[in-house]
Symmetry: C2
Subunit: 426 residues, 2 copies
């Protein structure tokens, strides 16, 4: 459900024939073998098989990415972002028929590069600021990062104005707006995904897999029990799928969260180890990921005592956050899908692309992921807040020495007043 | 030049007749008296007079705003922003003919309120974070600010999806994009203006008056000496106006900067005084605004020695920054105007509105201001950086006590190692 569209049957055969151009050769071969061996199976079932196979291919690819580590993951996020941008922009080109429009392709891509330079740079400055100060050149890049990014953007802006041609004014401005909305959706949100990854892989894996689970399970529940239509925008979606998918997502979310909390690899924030010269995922997990004792409400106490023999229960606090995320991903998440399917209907297209057999374009699979990424980012900054002392120290060191001293004195006085610091300490 | 359009003659008479509805009564009366008394003057000259009068009305209003202090100024920035948004959105409504489109006006305004809540809140949290923690309710508003803003936004997003109606898909998505581009231009940039004001009124007055000066002087130079066309987009603009306006802006910028640097009222960052319970503009001005000794390059030394009798000159460092800003406002600034006039041509409108007689809408006068505001903001963060210890302390206090202690120790060791802190100090 949510992000899955069932009424794509008509385009499937075409997709199969197009395969060799669109996929790595080995995958294409598998698909071709399948396509020929299943030739006798009726079309809807063949779609099921193709779609199912590529769902597993994607899940396996996802696991492989995680295994490859955070740097590889960030590169994949970047690649997905570029592909999504290309898909959205290409629809714009088709809608406004850009034949003869001067410079437009180059300009869109220039803006994509500029905004990525800005956003990826902001992440890097925050996390590797101290490290990158090694050479004068890198130091300048870090210090003037915003100014450089802004100058690059202004370059594109001036270029756009100079490229304006009377006959095309309207189209040029529409595509300019289109490009900027695409940047807003794709670039800013993939920047948020990267920031979530830095907080620990668990903040990436749990929400992403929740959306996938909700997609798949809502589809299943809808397929077997679906009766009551949910929303006019997507006629195949049902209340049964919506509710069943929601429950499945909550249960799945708790299970995967519990599992991931056992491994430092998943819960440790990514930090740059200067000695090793690479990113590390090693730490003493914070209490957030370790079982804590909670006292239960009086009304439930007898039941709990019967089971555990105590008035308290041990729960990993992260599970509460997992609950919030799964509720968001199953209640609000689908609206990302509705929005995308409304958009596709508005511009009379079936899919954003045809790169994944049985699923459409990359954007068709990531529509809800972007909304979810923003939610997780806001959630972390509001409820988790893991301001690291390292980051703050770096900001302090950029102050003038006398201000550093002023801050130091104020901090010392405050810590002493609150009894955190004993003045006797050297 | 730049943001001024000369070819509006045709609409002027209409504007005059419309006046009583659009202006405060006193102004409208003046304009009407003028209109009747000058009835014998030829139309182009009447336009000059009307336009000139309202240029002075605006400059006088600007001075009055400054005098009224920072809080009033921020409210005016907010009012201007709302009016600009309304003008841009109304063009969208006219282009897509929204009769019968469900909920659209309400949705646009809802998004405007949401994004203002977010951005103005971010400013307030940064500057008054400590103060606002007085009551539990305000504390929660501050702590969960992002989460609340995001929830509000998501509310609008879900509302939009639910309001989608088959017949109008295309129009609804286009207006959704239009609203978001308008928010991007108007709300984010007026947030940057507010942040500039917080750094000191000088960072607001100098850039704003530079753009005004460049507008007026480029128009004057163009009018008297203009011969060589500059750009096809605005046929009345000439190289003579561009260059003359640029020089005038640089000279004017240095003069006004020198003047403003004399008064703490203009150069002090805005700070909230807890004892007085209001914002204050009082400080010991930093060296940035006071004359500093600069040694001159060897080649110029003899000339300088002849005039001052020394090998050094006294210059206020802010004047260098004033120079950068005036170069930007006269070279890149006009592109904001070109962009706006291209936009108006694309959608076949003369002006964004008709609220200011002889000038058009508010947006017609602020098109270049927004670009400039972003430049100044980026410039400050790259070259001035006035990270106040106060703000950093606040972030430190939000850490867990043991992390605060960890940070304290690291800071102490670093300060000692660099010889800034003598350990003997109590």
């Amino acid at each position: 459900m949510s992000c899955l569209e069932m009424n794509k049957t008509a385009t499937k055969t075409k997709t199969l024939i197009d395969l060799p151009k669109k996929l790595p050769e080995s995958l294409a071969l598998t698909a071709l073998v399948l396509a020929s061996s299943k030739a006798t199976i009726s079309i809807p079932w063949r779609n099921w098989v193709i779609r199912g196979i590529f769902t597993w291919v994607m899940i396996f690819g996802f696991a492989l990415m995680i295994y490859a580590g955070p740097l590889a993951l960030m590169l994949v996020v970047l690649a997905v972002q570029v592909k999504c941008f290309a898909e959205i922009i290409n629809i714009g080109y088709a809608v406004y028929k850009i034949h003869g429009l001067p410079w437009f392709r180059s300009l869109s891509w220039y803006f994509l590069i500029t905004s990525n330079y800005f956003f990826y740079g902001e992440s890097l400055v925050d996390y590797f600021g101290v490290v990158d100060n090694r050479t004068e050149f890198l130091r300048a890049l870090v210090k003037y990062h915003r100014f450089i990014s802004f100058s690059l953007y202004i370059g594109g802006f001036v270029w756009f104005v100079l490229s304006l041609v009377k006959r095309y004014y309207m189209k040029q401005f529409s595509l300019f707006a289109w490009t900027h909305v695409a940047l807003l959706i794709v670039v800013t949100q993939s920047y948020l995904i990267i920031r979530n990854i830095f907080q620990g892989l668990i903040w990436f894996i749990v929400p992403v897999s929740m959306i996938v689970c909700n997609d798949v399970m809502a589809y299943m529940f809808g397929f077997f029990f679906g009766r009551t239509p949910l929303i006019k925008l997507s006629p195949k979606k049902t209340w049964e799928g919506f509710i069943g998918g929601g429950f499945a997502t909550v249960v799945f979310g708790l299970m995967i969260s519990y599992f991931l909390c056992q491994y430092p690899f998943f819960v440790c924030p990514i930090e740059f180890n200067e000695e090793l010269g690479r990113m590390t995922l090693d730490c003493e997990p914070t209490p957030l990921y370790r079982p804590q004792e909670y006292s239960v409400p009086a009304s439930l106490a007898p039941v709990v005592r019967m089971i555990t023999g105590k008035n308290t229960v041990m729960i990993i606090p992260f599970l509460f956050h997992s609950l919030s995320m799964s509720v968001f991903s199953s209640v609000i998440g689908p609206f990302g899908g509705f929005f995308a399917s409304g958009f596709k209907r508005a511009f009379k297209i079936k899919d954003f692309g045809d790169i994944i057999p049985g699923h459409g374009g990359i954007m068709d699979r990531f529509d809800c992921q972007y909304l979810m990424a923003t939610f997780v980012n806001v959630y972390i900054s509001s409820f988790i807040r893991m301001d690291s002392p390292q980051k703050l120290l770096q900001q302090i060191y950029s102050l003038k020495p006398e201000l550093q001293l002023e801050l130091f004195t104020a901090l010392r006085d405050s810590l002493t007043a609150r009894g955190i610091l004993q003045l006797a300490a050297p």
